[in-house]
Structures are given as structure tokens and as C-alpha cells.
Amino acid sequence: MTTLDAIILPAPSYLTAHWSLRSWLLTLDHKRIAMLYLTSITAFFFVGGAAAVLMRLELATPASDFVVSGAYNRLFTIHGAVMVWFFLIPSIPTVLGNFLIPLMIGARDLAFPRLNLMSWYVFMAGGALATGSIIVGGVDTGWTFYTPYSTTYANSAVFPMVAGIFVAGFASIMTGLNFIVTIHTMRAPGLTWFRLPLFVWAMYATSLVLVLATPVLAITLVLIAVERFWGVGVFDPALGGDPLLFQHLFWFYSHPAVYIMILPAMGVVSELVACFSRNPIFGYRFVAYASMAIAILGFLVWGHHMFVAGQSVHASMVFSFLSFLVAIPSGVKVFNWIVTLRNGTIHYKTSMVYALGFIGLFTLGGLTGLFLATLPVDVHVHDTYFVIAHFHYIMVGGAVMAYLGGMHFWWPKIAGRMYNEGWGIFSAILMFFGFNLTFFPQFILGYLGMIRRAAEYPPEFQLLNVLSSAGASILGVAYLIPLVYLTRSLVRPATAEANPWNATGLEWTVSSPPPEHNFDSTPVVTTPPYSYDAEKTAELEAVSP
């Protein structure tokens, strides 16, 4: 190749550098591994979603007439386990995190590319085991595997599911470890901690939780497997075991796991709000510290899942108090996002609509979290639809909205293609509407006393359940629309430029899609993040046609 050719031909992107299947399955490129994860978690999302649709169909009537009780119990277990471990926890970290962290910090790749690829294979092995449990008859324990039901009484495929989650846990640890090391050691010259995009801060906080919480889940699942195989175990009350001990170990992981889902979402929203209001994030340092505070405080509050479980009254009081503390950094973030809008120039692109939707739904989800931290109210609404509504506001209204907002924001970078904004905004609004119709009635149902995990309910709860089921069908359609138009954008030649949103951040300085090795030369950073100037951008746009 002559020098002239090299100048004229654009460097091949990471998508076009190699074409063989082998070049995808053995890739060490963080961007391609992100794409492997994207296809996998999208598939898992629709598996979990299908289970949810069937559940809502069953709940349209008070009797268990659509599916029998045993099948319903398997549906909610599949829905919970698949959505938590195979969609929500990996979603933003393994897709957007993998793709963006090296680009955002000016690195050629993550610190351990082989470990990164291995994490995908381990994740898929875990996913195969977990979905295999559906094929061999399903699991009916609920995603929480409470003992002694899961160890001694359940007559279903508990082991493959537990093994699948155990294996997938190692993928989580590998990803978290890789991110921590990468963010510590591979930042470009001049990219100090307080010049990092808030998404990177959020991913760092998330990775700490992944690395420190997941091993406790792993050993807890080992103990369940041992008890099922050996016939004796440490949680068996008949042998002097304490089933509450299982709950402590389980929630030591599973409560922080909620923050694994929501912290990355908060990071995405910080990027979106700053870009589309053309303003630096108000109180950057406070937002960054809030991520760390949430990650650490998140480890101190797990006992609020056990207020009625037989936990001591004193411990409950302490856990209640600590749970209230988490509200403070969460509130700081919401306030700062909203004040960031002030004096900005707000562009209502698809991603911004998702971000605003996130702020609304997360605020309601967070505030209803206070109800659950309040001891006497939790005693009433624990294990009812109030809890279901609360955590779906956080995980679906929050994490999934932010994930989709982020996908739309970085889609031009990932795929090199633009999509139809009209469809984008329409589906985002439809999703917001469908979501609220599905889950708001569940707050009321919860306070009325409708218990969760039940295929049957008293007839007076039917009206609200019908509303919820109707909302779920709207929500289902709203999730399919982006799948269609984003896939269509791949075959339609609306090429994206390097920086279609005029955003700051190193990822926008490389071509779309980025070249295989990200940067031709290591970038040097000299400015703080989000150096948007609202006034100037507004003027610039006024003169441009």
C-alpha cells in the first residue's frame, strides 16, 4: 500500500476491520466484546420479557385460569433471575461500559482484553445453564432462593439455575476487576480523576460493588448446591441451621446489586443531561462523590429486606436508619441534574427524552424507597405489589430507560448510523406512558395488601390489575419499536459523523464507528469535562441553516 492510498482510504472501523466469524468470537477488542454482550443481553431481555407478559396475562383475572399455579411460580422465577442476572446487571456495564470506558479515557483497550473475552464466554455458559433449567422443567423458588424452601422442599431444577448464576457471577467479577484496573492505570495524560466523565465515575463505583459483593453470592449459592446434593447443610432448620443467615448472605450481595443496576444508569443520564442542555453538570464533584457514597452505603442497608423476617428489632432500627441515608446522595444527583437544565440550551432528542423520563421515574422510585425504609410502613407493604412497583420504577423506569437512552446517544458511535428521531421520541414517550400504566396501579395494590408471587388474588383487586396488564402490553410494544428501527438503521445508509451531537468527551473525537485501535496517538487532556458553553452553542445554531 502506498502512502497516498493510506491518506485517501479511511482506516477500517472496528466493525469492518475483519469479517470472519472467528474474528468476532476470538476478538480481544473491547468494542467487539461489547457487541457480543449486546446481542446476548438483548436475547435474555426478551426471554425475561416473555415471562413477564405471560404473568401479566395470568393476572388479568383473579383466578389462576391462564396458567396453573406451578407454571406461574416458574414464570416469576425465570423473569426475576433472567432479568436480574442476565440482563440488568450486565446491561450498561458490559455493553456501554465495555465499549466506552477505553474510548472515554483515551486508552487503546481495557487492561485485560483476554479476561474481557473470557468474561463473555463465562457469562454465556452461565446463561446456558440458567436457561437450561427452563428446559428441564423450570425453577419455582423465586429469584431469592429462600431456604429451606429452595434447599429441602422445592421439587424443581434449582441446581442448574443456581449453577448458572454462580458461573455468571465470575463474569461480573472479571468485568468489574477489569474496569477498576483500567480506570486506575490507563487514563490518558492529563485526564485526572476530576476530569473524568461522570459515566466513568459511575462505572468505577459499580465495579467496586461487583467485585466486593459477588463473591458472597457465589459462596451462598455453593452452600445451597451442597445442601441439595448432600442432603445436609448449614441453613437447614431441622439440623439447627438458621434460615435467616441465608437471607443475610443473600442480601449482602443482592441489595448492593440494585446499585449495580442503577449507578451505571445514573452515569449515563449525567452524560445525556449535560450534552443536550449544552451545560456542564452542575456540581460535578458532588455527583461523582454521590456515586461513591451510594456504592459504599449500599453495603450497609441489606437488612431492610428482613424487617418482618424475624430479624432482631435493634438490627432493624439500625438498618432502617442506614437505609434513609442512601436517600441523600440519590437526592443530590436528582437536584443536580435538574439544576443543570437551568441556563442551558435544551435539545429534545430521543436520548434526552429518555433521560428526562429516567429522572421522573427514578425520583418516584427513590421516594417510594423511603416508604420501605420506614419500619411500620414496610411491615405492611413488604412482599406486596408496593415493593414490586418500587423496584420496577428503579430498575425498569430507571435502569432500562437510561440504558436505552444511552444506546440512542452512542448508537451513531457504535454502529456509525443515525436512526429516525421521530420513531425514537415516539417510542420513548410510549414507553414512559406504558410503564406508568403498568406499575403505578401496583403501588395502590400493594397498600391494599395484594401479595406478590401469587397467581390468584381476591376479586376486588381485579380492576387495578387489568390496568396494569393493559400497560404491560403497551410497554411490550414500546420495547419492540427501537429494536426494529435500530436494526433497520444498520442496513440503511444514514452514516453518522464523528460527533453528531456536538458532545464533549474523547469518544467523540474518533470516527464513527471508531477504528480498531481507538486512537492514532494517545490524546492529551487539558480541559475539565463537559466544557459546553450554552450561550455560544445557541448563537452558533441560530446562524447555521
Binding site: N155, P280, S320, V334, R342, G344, T345, T363, L448, A454
Partner: protein
């Protein structure tokens, strides 16, 4: 008996409030609701205001953004104070809710898959029904026979997990006679959704009458008990004494295979073997449930071992009883 109350009542947006404690909980809940409304309106108005005023293309005076640390301090402090206040109030109400008065009337409840068994110290026993007097503190003592259940009365805003090998309790002072829902709130297996009952709150005098009327009343016959009632010879009594019929019913269930028509027939086992259900097989299954688990049952078996609990004479009677069930393989109805 009055029929007023939550059970079978129509659509509503607010649950029945039928105890002193429930009123307290509602107050805290309303305060939280107000707080939520305040923040949603405040934040919504701000977001809407900024969103309209500073939207692209609109000529607004846009000042340079200056970060103000005192603003952060203001909302951190405000959030901390508000949450602390709610937390303290909630804790205060909670301590009251978990401290039963010393003169509370005791009632014992056992949860099992999938029913509530209630015993009044005065004698009466009930299943899936709980009669209590109004205006009197009542303490419910809870334990489970198998997995974790949760005893939940929405109208009293009360819930407590029911643990095996452990006693937990809750107490209430019902205010309004009526019938209220009783749920199991902790997922406990196949028929969790049907582990429902009624709490019947009665005027104290009426309750006293009910107590004395029900003294000799045995619990209503339930499907599980039908095996035990099938025979009236002494063997059936032993069968009932060890509660074998709780799991071994007239048809196969997740908890145990049916014993009807079993005796003398070949049994396929989980490990692939086929054995004949003879006396030795029945004995072994009682003493070592894991030695030969039938196909379709859980392994390890959910049946506890009865080694050391069943003496030889009883064992013999149990085997005789299973034998008699084998005589008519057609069904289990009350046969002569």
C-alpha cells in the same frame, strides 16, 4: 356473625383499617405520601419550567453557570433532616407495634404448606380462620412446620414471617368487627397463592359465645385429612397421629406419593430401580425416606425420617393401614 369487612367487598383505593396500630401506620404513610407529592411537584415544576424556558431556539437570557456549593449544602441538609424525622417517627411507631402489652390474649398459629392452623388456649381449633375479639389486645404466636411463611393481615397493617423451629409473634388490638383477609406473604411453594384465610373480628360477648360453642368443635374436614378419616379402625388413628395424611393424599402431590392402591404393586424409583411395595418397602420408606425415593418425588425426600419416633407396634399398624388402602385401588372416598 357480621359480614361487614374487606372480604368480598368491592373496588377501593384504600384498605380497610381495623386496628389501633393500623391507624398509626396510616398516619406515617400519609405523611410520606405528602412528602412524595411535595418533591414530585417541586422537581416536576422545576424541570418543566427550565425545560420550557431554556429549550433550543428560544431566546432566553442564559447566564454562565457558576457552581454554588451552598446550594448543595442546603439540599443535603434538608434531605438529611427530613429523612431523619421520618425515620425517628417510623421507629417510634414500630417499637409500639412489636411490643405486646402483658395482658394480651394468646393465640397459637402454625403455618404449613398450605394452610394456617389456629389453636385457642381455651380449646377451639380452626383452619384458615381466626376468630378474635374486638377491643382486646391479641398476641399471635407463630411457627412453621416446614418452610418460611408470612402471616399477613392487611387490615391490621401487620405481617410477620413464620419460621420453622422458631417462634415469632405479632399483636394487635382490633377496632372494628368484620371479616378481613389473611394472607401468606412469603412465597412458600406450589399453592402459596391459595394459603389464604379469614380473620373474623367479633364483639367480645359474641366472641365468648363462639368460644364456648366451639369448645368441642373439631376443625372442618379438609382434603388432607380424608385419608385418616377413611378408616375407623385403630390403624387410621395412628396414621392421623403422625400426620401422614398431610402429605400422602388421595392423589400424588409434590409432597408425597399417594398410598392408595400402592401395596403389592411395583414402584419405579428415581434411581431407575423398580421394587415391589411390600412390608419391608413401607417400613424402609418410613424409617429411611431417602433410601428408595419413588419416581416423581423430590430427592432428597421431603419426608423426615421417623426412625426413633415410631415404635414397632405403631409401625406395624401403619403398614396394615397402607395394606388396607391397597385393597380398593379405585379411590379414597369414605369406604365402609
Amino acid at each position: 356473625m357480621t359480614s361487614r369487612g374487606a372480604v368480598n367487598s368491592g373496588f377501593s383505593l384504600w384498605p380497610e383499617t381495623a386496628s389501633v396500630g393500623a391507624e398509626q401506620v396510616d398516619l406515617v404513610y400519609l405523611a410520606l405520601l405528602g412528602l412524595t407529592l411535595f418533591f414530585v411537584i417541586l422537581l416536576g415544576a422545576l424541570a418543566l419550567g427550565f425545560g420550557v424556558k431554556y429549550r433550543v431556539g428560544r431566546a432566553a437570557h442564559r447566564r454562565e453557570v457558576v457552581h454554588k456549593t451552598h446550594l448543595e449544602v442546603v439540599w443535603i441538609t434538608a434531605a438529611a433532616l427530613i429523612t431523619l424525622a421520618v425515620c425517628l417517627w417510623g421507629t417510634y411507631v414500630y417499637v409500639d407495634a412489636v411490643t405486646p402489652p402483658p395482658d394480651a390474649r394468646n393465640i397459637y398459629v402454625v403455618g404449613k404448606q398450605w394452610m394456617w392452623k389456629v389453636s385457642h388456649p381455651q380449646g377451639p381449633r380452626e383452619i384458615n380462620e381466626l376468630h378474635v375479639p374486638a377491643g382486646v389486645p391479641v398476641k399471635i404466636n407463630l411457627t412453621s412446620q416446614d418452610v418460611i411463611h408470612s402471616f399477613y393481615i392487611p387490615a391490621f397493617r401487620l405481617k410477620r414471617d413464620v419460621l420453622p423451629q422458631t417462634y415469632t409473634s405479632l399483636w394487635f388490638n382490633a377496632t372494628r368487627p368484620g371479616e378481613y383477609h389473611l394472607f401468606c406473604a412469603e412465597y412458600c411453594g406450589a399453592e402459596h397463592a391459595r394459603m389464604r384465610g379469614r380473620v373474623i373480628v367479633m364483639e367480645p360477648a359474641e366472641f365468648q359465645r363462639w368460644l364456648s360453642d366451639s369448645k368441642d368443635l373439631e376443625p372442618e374436614p379438609i382434603p388432607n385429612a380424608e385419608l385418616a378419616e377413611a378408616r375407623s379402625d385403630g390403624h387410621a388413628e395412628v396414621f392421623a397421629r403422625y400426620a401422614c395424611g398431610d402429605c400422602h393424599k388421595s392423589g400424588p402431590t409434590p409432597e408425597g406419593p399417594t398410598l392408595v392402591g400402592l401395596f403389592g404393586q411395583p414402584v419405579r424409583l428415581r434411581d431407575g430401580r423398580t421394587v415391589v411395595a411390600d412390608e419391608e418397602y413401607i417400613r424402609q420408606s418410613i424409617m429411611e425416606p431417602n433410601a428408595a425415593v419413588a419416581l416423581g418425588q423430590a430427592a432428597p425426600s421431603t419426608m423426615p425420617t421417623y426412625a426413633g419416633q415410631v415404635d414397632d407396634e405403631h409401625l406395624w399398624q401403619l403398614i396394615e393401614f397402607v395394606k388396607s388402602l391397597g385393597a380398593d385401588a379405585g379411590g379414597i372416598g369414605p369406604t365402609p
